[in-house]
């Protein structure tokens, strides 16, 4: 499973620059090939929103996370659970810019 941090639940949603503060996650299930959005329930938290969001995605079975920025506590959790982190370039602004999604 792949998760991408996005600002809204639309196909051309902007990629969020901060993992923990992301509004939604765009999930791609590699087996079913069915993409869908999940709301980030940890977004409103004053503290540890990144950690909570990371634990939530791990429970969902996510193995690759795509975002513009990750914090150190998030990296520690992902390293522990062998989750791959992908830091996108500033050229990629929204979901439509990602070739892999375009091909779906």
């Amino acid at each position: 499973m792949i998760a991408i941090t996005v600002s809204e639940n639309k196909k051309n949603a902007k990629i969020e620059s901060c993992f923990g503060k992301s509004e939604y996650f765009f999930i791609i299930d590699i087996h079913t090939k069915e993409p869908y959005f999940i709301k980030n329930s940890a977004k409103g938290l004053l503290k540890n929103s990144g950690k909570e969001a990371a634990s939530f995605l791990i429970k969902k079975g996510v193995k690759t996370v795509i975002s513009a920025n990750f914090g150190v506590p998030v990296k520690e959790i992902f390293d522990k659970h062998k989750v791959q982190m992908v830091i996108i370039s500033s050229k990629i602004k929204n979901l439509n810019d990602i070739k892999r999604i375009k091909n779906k």
């Binding site: 795509i66 390293d79 996108i88 050229k91």
Partner: protein
């Protein structure tokens, strides 16, 4: 002769970038270079709100050294703001604790948590044109 400076440890990579002030006339020619360890100190202390001790452990330096790096970074940012100079993020005496890879097609940076399954492919664009992200590109 003074002791050589110990390289600082970085957990996450970041790209070389410049912050150019918008002037009413002409281009901003003067610039200041913010080193990778100075950028990391600002990120850990001011963005992630860590204590000096926590940040010092991550960078693998003593607490007083971290404070000096942080102070230098703040001085550079202040100089850039007040004297309207370009702030360039590049260079530094640091190393990454794990291998990160850079895609030559989409410019994405990624790690491989389980190196046994690495198939040399960008997780974003699926390009096979990837190389090791080095400190030289920071």
């Amino acid at each position: 002769m003074s002791r050589p400076v110990k390289p600082r440890k970085l957990l996450l990579p970041h790209k070389a970038i410049s912050f150019v002030p918008k002037k009413e006339e002409g281009v901003c020619e003067e610039s200041i270079t913010l080193l990778s360890e100075e950028y990391e100190a600002i990120k850990l202390l001011d963005y992630e709100n860590m204590t000096h001790l926590q940040a010092a452990k991550i960078l693998n330096v003593s607490r007083p050294t971290l404070t000096r790096i942080y102070q230098r970074a703040r001085n550079k940012i202040a100089e850039s703001l007040v004297e309207i100079k370009t702030l360039k993020l590049e260079g530094g005496n640091s190393y990454m604790i794990e291998n990160w890879y850079n895609c030559n097609v989409c410019d994405t940076i990624f790690n491989i948590p389980d190196s046994g399954v690495f198939n040399k492919c960008c997780p974003l664009c699926l390009s096979k044109s990837v190389n090791l992200f080095s400190n030289n590109s920071i």
